[in-house]
């Protein structure tokens, strides 16, 4: 290298260094910085996609700075938290129950930074867990399904037997029995959220036993459940988003989880300085859990049931009625 190029190199290096030093100080009066950790691809059309949407919504609404990392495995989650904390992020959200424990551990080292894990049970002074009260939707869905069944047998397929799935199914069973005490409920867990063929077979096993309305809380595997009901001309319910588009003549109603709203709520707390560590349950009262419209079933669901569901929704939202939260499976 010639002497001249050394000079240029030195100048550039100095410029970069000054810039690098100047940047953080110039952004002292800056907006808050929020990072999101995702366990899988951001374009999965489900769990991770909705979280990213929430982050982008918050960016627009509050003018915050955002960043996200995809495919964070359980082993990498601690270092991912540390990375963002060291870069000066104010709020770091881990999207999934597995982020809870690492968040608490990293939280001890970065007391100024706020950590959040979605659907987790861990908390500390600067770490909070936000859980969705999906059991509220499960309870109402149980009522609707029991009222629509002609054979008196209904079925529900769960993905995996983990607390966040079990609480929906247990509330579903209580709801169904409150509507119709002699209802027979078939339940099974397929042990996967992705195997569509297995989901369909689990549903077929229930159809063979006379079930005429099928529900699921099993992501992709649940699509197999809907397809089985559709193929046999029976009814089904949707989960996570309004699945009526998949099978308009089959889906009575879907349970909706507004994860974007949940993420917005979290960012809002931090932005307004009201963030405290702890475990939070967010449901219908926070606009996070809801039921979809009935679409083509508007005229088929009995008016008395619609009225009951509407009044219960109101009571759950204003806190005068609490759906039991059971996270361990009970036998029928």
């Amino acid at each position: 290298m010639k002497k001249g190029s050394f000079k240029i190199f030195g100048l550039v290096l100095m410029a970069v260094l000054t810039l690098g030093l100047a940047l953080p100080s110039s952004s002292l009066a800056r907006n808050i910085k929020v990072a999101l950790l995702l366990s899988g691809p951001a374009n999965d059309g489900g769990w991770n996609a909705v979280a990213l949407k929430g982050l982008k919504d918050a960016e627009k609404k509050f003018g915050i700075e955002t960043a996200y990392t995809e495919h964070v495995s359980v082993a990498d989650s601690e270092s991912a938290f540390i990375d963002y904390a060291a870069q000066g992020y104010d709020l770091i959200i881990g999207h999934g129950f597995q982020f809870g424990e690492p968040a608490v551990r990293v939280g001890k080292r970065f007391s100024r930074v706020k950590f959040v894990a979605i659907e987790s049970n861990f908390s500390s002074k600067n770490t909070a867990s936000f859980r969705m009260s999906i059991e509220q939707a499960g309870y109402l869905m149980g009522i609707i399904v029991a009222s629509m069944s002609e054979t008196g047998v209904i079925g529900i397929v769960g993905g995996m037997e983990v607390p966040s799935i079990v609480k929906y199914i247990e509330a579903y069973k209580i709801g169904a029995k409150s509507q119709r005490s002699d209802i027979k409920i078939l339940e099974s867990y397929v042990g996967t959220f992705t195997d569509v063929a297995k989901g369909k077979e689990a549903a077929m096993a229930m159809i063979d036993q006379n079930a005429d309305v099928l529900s699921h809380i099993a992501n992709q595997a649940g699509t197999g459940v809907i397809k089985a009901a559709q193929a046999k001309g029976l009814m089904a319910t949707g989960d996570s988003w309004d699945q009526n588009v998949i099978a308009p003549k089959t889906i009575i109603c879907s349970a909706l989880y507004h994860v974007p709203t949940l993420v917005l709520n979290v960012v809002k707390l931090v932005k307004e300085g009201n963030f405290k560590g702890g475990i939070y349950n967010q449901g219908m009262e926070d606009g996070v859990v809801a039921l979809s419209p009935f679409h083509s079933f508007e005229s088929k669901v009995p008016a008395s049931v619609k009225k009951k569901v509407a009044s219960l929704t109101k009571k759950i939202s204003n806190g005068s009625f609490t759906v039991p939260l059971i996270e361990k499976r009970t036998s029928n």
Partner: protein, 312 residues
């Protein structure tokens, strides 16, 4: 529907056969491949590619036959890459197979996204429907399970018989076995080792692709990222369990299918046993059967070993 014991047995058997079909088809292809000496772990990728291309062909042409063709081509695409890598380039067959599984997962997901974007509604393709075979389907229990199914399942039975004849009763089948047992002797006898292995890889692709097509063209009528979710790996187990014999493969596949069908039915009976125990059931059965058949399994002597002609 009849809920008595006969009704339960009938439904159970029918479900077992349904679940066994993709495993049997893929297992038949792998049998040819392994008999010729190529161990193709990439069966999952072959099935996934088959499922994807069968869906694409059937979706755009609205024809099931073209869908089948697409499925076979999709399977052959992956299996021939593996064939080329193992026969011509002599690479480690296991590593190549694993790599192809990931390649197929990435490619199919990417192409699917390219073709349909991020939509929430489910693009659907035509599916084959049940056809009851007169008289035979009236036999109690067995009739509805074996003779009141979709044409795919009848095709599978036919192919099992055909594969048995080809593999054990024709010169070409014997050549395949010779290539897998003692490629040097086969070569000396004038059999083209690489030619035989390429043809076996081709068959592996066709059968594996059909197995994948079964998911899209018969069972589900749509495609999703990673729709096979591990069925290719189960098919590999089925091949070992069935001792690389077409009829054995069919029996093993039905056993695995029955274990799966049974666990779904037992779960709904509400025994108060954790669901994970039921989910393990098919795998426990597989391991048990493998355990009791130790020693009887004959692996082709040159399985997984590249044949290099000029080496001594």
């Amino acid at each position: 529907m009849d809920t008595g014991l006969i009704g339960i047995l009938t439904a159970l058997l029918a479900a077992s056969v349904r679940m066994a079909t993709p495993l049997t088809l893929a297992g038949l292809g792998e049998t040819f491949s392994e008999k010729s000496g190529i161990l193709n772990i990439g069966l999952e990728g072959i099935m996934l590619s088959g499922a994807f291309f069968s869906f694409i062909f059937a979706y755009y042409s609205q024809s099931i036959l073209l869908g089948l063709l697409g499925g076979c081509l999709g399977g052959v695409f992956i299996s021939m890459i593996h064939g080329y890598l193992s026969v011509r380039l002599n690479v480690d067959q296991t590593i190549a197979g694993l790599a192809l599984n990931f390649l197929a997962l990435g490619l199919t997901s990417f192409f699917f996204l390219m073709a349909f974007g991020r939509t929430t509604d489910l693009p659907e393709c035509p599916v084959v429907h049940q056809i009851a075979i007169p008289l035979l389907s009236d036999i109690p229990i067995i009739g509805p399970a074996f003779f009141n199914q979709d044409p795919f399942i009848y095709l599978t039975f036919l192919l099992v018989a055909l594969c048995y004849v080809v593999l054990h009763r024709t010169e070409w089948g014997i050549n395949i076995q010779a290539t897998g047992e003692h490629p040097r002797a086969a070569d000396a006898a004038g059999i083209s080792v690489s030619g035989t292995r390429y043809r076996a890889a081709l068959l592996n692709g066709v059968f594996g692709g059909l197995g994948g097509s079964y998911l899209t063209l018969a069972l589900l009528g749509f495609f999703m990222e990673n729709i096979t979710s591990g069925k290719g790996y189960i098919a590999l187990v089925v091949v070992i369990l069935g001792r690389r014999h077409p009829v054995g493969v069919l029996m093993a596949a039905i056993l695995v299918g029955a274990a799966e069908a049974l666990q779904f039915r037992m779960q709904t009976m509400g025994f108060g046993i954790p669901s994970q125990v039921f989910n393990m059931f098919p795998y426990v059965i597989t391991v048990l059967v493998l355990l009791f058949s130790i020693g009887k399994n004959r692996t082709p002597a040159a399985l997984g070993e590249p044949y290099i002609r000029n080496n001594r």
